[in-house]
Amino acid sequence: MLLFCCSRKKPREGERERMEGIPEDKAEFDEAEIEYVSYGGEHHLPLIMNLVDQELSEPYSIFTYRYFVYLWPQLSFLAFHKGKCVGTVVCKMGEHRNTFRGYIAMLVVIKPYRGRRIATELVTRSIRMMMESGCEEVTLEVTNKGALALYGRLGFIRAKRLFHYYLNGVDAFRLKLLFPPPPPCQEL
């Protein structure tokens, strides 16, 4: 995630762990058992915060989460399995250089639940909402191969390589998804 108000150079190291690797203790479940819920209010905030804090080493204050979920609650989704929150996606959208653009800020699925398309489903719901809201494109930054594959399947291209984007010297890719232009209105 790009913290706009902090230095451009991102010190975070833990993000790579989010999407990579085969979970050591895999949870047994049917994909139909996963319930996807749109952000519903303050009661969801601690769930999102705990998930992200657990999986990432980047310290986000509560205000960071509030910025996203207060201004764009319709773009954040949570995944539950039997009442337990196992994944979340947090996004925003807005005008950027004459383009109305969506931005995927955080995407987390806990380790035992990875590899079962939960992340794909979460992101797909957000992107669909962005498209319906009039976004022309969606963007985010990633480093790891798992994330590149996930977003590649959804139609993102690697628009830029960001040299030494993270403090540990790791490069990042800026991914972008361009929506097709809306069909012209047809006169009856």
Binding site: R153, R161, F163, G169, L177, F179
Partner: protein, 730 residues
């Protein structure tokens, strides 16, 4: 009063407040804000935020949680100031009263500083690396310790020189942390004498080394010298370990000074110092065995991640002291390079600098561009790239020597005398000179930034072409027999330059596209469109290159004395220049890959990736947006891409094997580049790829549609941007 910042008083819950170690000043005073914060907490409900004109949710993201060790840079520190650290003995002078331990610790400090310096070069801030050294932060107090003092002084002078080079080269974006020196004591009185100070210390240690060697041979030297340290068995080893470290610094400083000399005048001297530096680095590496063993420590054991040759922690460093001067807030703990990796870094840096210093300062732009592209293949770091950029562009001239108009006329294959023509004062020609200068600067940056900049740069080249074309039409209109000689000459110059601008634009486009492979920006499902675009650009590049060469030959012939063409001249005229043949080989490879990928997609849906939100057309638009905007090439669009590839089938592939043609051309043109080892190596790779792909195509055409177990992949294993097709049964 200022020292006791907060007198003991009661806090809200009755416990006495701790004395703060950050003193109040004349304009600040400490006060207990606990009651205010408590009232604010009571007044706000969950989910509410204090809101103001200049404080909103976005601004609130900058909030730091006090006492969170990840966010609060003040919480995780040993000392709050340099003086406090020194007072508590963090950087003692002398380091030890035992002279042997003192020397050992000095070597550790030198090694750790080298590791810090390498970490800084690699992208961390100076504040958290080299200037984490307390001795460096208070250099004057090291004066009684000649060895440490001379080393720290030359390090400081070296850092200043390197910052200056990088600043002048104007590093960009991700690399601009490098030049941040705010608040650091980088300028020191007397640093201009750092070499003579170092030489004096080097001289003393050299004499100490001679003395201990003489003593071992039971000879007496005329002078009575105090030994370096107290253990005679270790004297020689320590002297040698110190000497190579001091000499490395001396020669490195000389390299920077020589390379700074204008117009490349110091390059030959720099090469000598580079060679000496390499020798000293080898000695430094060899000294590690002695240093590890001198106290009976085992020489095995894992010291790979340690920042000193001895494997011990150095005295006198605290990275958090300067945390407020770090560019990043909150500052993070960074990992200093290991000593081993630091030495490897400097070996590579010296090698890269040597390549720069060996360059012949060729006035031909085409050769220079090939040199820079070749140099970038070794992925040189910022320091080397900054030096290259400053060598190439100085005072608005190439190498500070050749006016840009003269460079352009040479590149456009105009006659030598053209460089003095008044046309150089034309506004568009002046702008073209600036573009050439900017192109050279861009080509010296890191690949990621370079590609972004080249893409945007294409618009500038397109605009200049349009301007020059307009200028040509407006000023000269139709050439008639009544036009003066000078008008004819001007027109010819414009025409040559226009042709060259087109060629150069396609070269930049080609570079933009192939950098995408190096930066891993294309997924395999996008290779088809990329190779198609590459094919289109290469055709144009070959066309313009051949035209330029033909026009230049024609011009040279008309200026020559021969009135009739000899058979040899005629043969030369009709022969395709080797540079163009080289491009033809690439064209065949690009075409072959495009068609194979298209056939695989059309026949067995391989590498098709229909996403739920967009189509291939959107991906095409995104990848080639900048090129399309600059009309490069003209009339090449998504519909023409679809038209070219929709009908590709295994049966059409079987009819014509582009890879066989590429292979044949690569073999034939090799002899033309017998004096160019880089081109020969490139041709070897192209031939390799062509041969593999030809065989793979034959297999796929025979079995592709029939054998579902056939797996096809495209790997950049033999060439950086032409993929090798791998077809095997799973």
């Amino acid at each position: 009063m200022a020292d006791n910042a907060v007198s003991e008083g009661a806090s809200m819950d009755g416990h006495p407040l701790k004395l703060a170690s950050i003193p109040a000043t004349d304009s600040t005073v400490w006060t207990d804000a606990s009651p205010l914060l408590q009232a604010a907490c009571t007044g706000l409900r969950d989910g509410e935020l204090i809101h103001g004109d200049n404080f909103n949710l976005f601004a609130a993201m900058s909030a730091l949680e006090i006492m969170d060790p990840k966010m609060d840079s003040g919480i995780v520190r040993t000392y709050y100031s340099i003086d406090e650290a020194i007072e508590h003995g963090a950087a003692p002078i002398p380091i030890s009263l035992d002279s042997t331990i003192d020397v050992q610790c000095t070597i550790d400090i030198m090694d750790h500083l080298l590791a810090c310096e390498a970490a800084w070069h690699k992208g961390h801030s100076l504040a958290q690396t080299v200037f984490s050294c307390i001795y460096l932060l208070r250099l004057d107090r090291t004066a009684p310790h000649a060895l440490l003092h001379s080393y720290c002084r030359i390090i400081r002078a070296t850092c200043k020189a390197v910052v200056s080079v990088a600043s002048n080269a104007r590093t960009h974006e991700e690399e601009d942390l490098f030049t941040m020196t705010y608040g650091l004591p980088l300028n020191g009185d007397g640093d201009d004498k750092c070499l003579s100070i170092l030489n004096a210390v080097e001289d003393t240690i050299s004499r100490q080394l001679r003395a201990c060697k003489a003593a071992s041979l039971k000879r007496r030297l005329p002078e009575d010298l105090e030994p370096l340290q107290s253990n005679p068995n270790l004297e020689e080893g320590f002297c040698k370990a110190l000497l190579c470290r001091l000499c490395f610094r001396k020669h490195f400083f000389h390299i920077l000074a020589c390379m700074k000399r204008p117009q490349g005048r110091g390059l030959e001297s720099a090469r000598k110092h580079i060679s000496s530096c390499m020798t000293e680095l080898e000695s430094i590496q060899k000294s590690a065995y002695f240093i590890r063993s001198c106290f009976g420590e085992s020489c095995e054991g894992d010291i790979d991640d340690k920042t000193t040759a001895s494997g011990r922690e150095p005295i006198g460093f605290d990275a958090m002291l300067n945390s407020r001067l770090s560019a990043l807030m909150p500052p993070r703990t960074i990992k200093i390079l290991s000593w081993k990796k630091a030495v490897e870094y400097f070996v590579k840096l010296l090698h890269d600098l040597d390549v720069i210093c060996s360059y012949s300062l060729d006035p031909h732009l085409e050769s220079l561009l090939r040199f820079v592209v070749q140099f970038q293949k070794s992925q040189p770091d910022l320091v080397a790239r900054s030096h290259l950029q400053l060598l190439l562009v100085q005072d608005g001239k190439l190498y500070g020597r050749d006016p840009l108009f003269s460079v352009i006329t040479k590149a456009a294959a105009l006659l030598e005398a053209t460089k003095n023509h008044d046309i150089q004062k034309n506004e568009s020609i002046l702008q073209l000179g600036m573009l050439v200068m900017n192109l050279l600067k861009i080509l010296c940056t890191n690949a990621a930034w370079q590609r972004r900049k080249l893409g945007k740069f294409l618009q500038d080249w397109h605009v200049i072409y349009v301007q020059l074309e307009l200028a040509l039409r407006n000023e000269f209109g139709e050439v008639s027999s009544r036009s003066s000689n000078d008008e004819n000459v001007c027109m010819k110059i414009f025409q040559h330059i226009l042709l060259w601008v087109e060629e150069q634009t396609y070269w930049i486009t080609f570079r933009f596209l192939i950098l995408g492979f190096e930066l891993e920006l294309y997924s395999t499902s996008e290779y088809c469109m990329v190779y198609w675009y590459l094919y289109a650009v290469l055709i144009k590049l070959a066309e313009k290159t051949q035209l330029k060469m033909a026009v230049s030959y024609d011009t040279a012939k008309r200026k020559g004395k021969k009135k009739k063409d000899s058979p040899k001249d005629l043969a030369r005229e009709s022969r395709i220049p080797p540079a163009v043949t080289f491009l033809q080989c690439c064209i065949f490879l690009a075409e072959g890959l495009t068609m194979m990928l298209a056939a695989l997609r059309n026949e067995i849906s391989l590498f098709q990736s229909p996403g739920p939100f967009n189509t291939e057309q959107e991906k095409f638009a995104q990848h080639f947006e900048l090129l399309q905007r600059a009309c490069i090439p003209d009339h090449f669009s998504y519909p023409s891409y679809k038209e070219s590839t929709t009908h590709a089938r295994f049966s059409t592939l079987a009819m014509y094997n582009y890879f066989k043609d590429a292979q044949r051309i690569a073999k034939e043109v090799k002899s033309s580049f017998s004096n160019d080892p880089e081109r020969l190596a490139e041709l070897q790779k192209l031939e390799h790829v062509a041969e593999h792909n030809s065989a793979a195509q034959d297999l796929i055409c025979r079995l592709g549609a029939l054998d579902p177990s056939l797996k096809v992949s495209f790997e950049l294993s033999h060439h950086p941007f032409f993929a090798t097709v791998v077809a095997k049964r799973s």
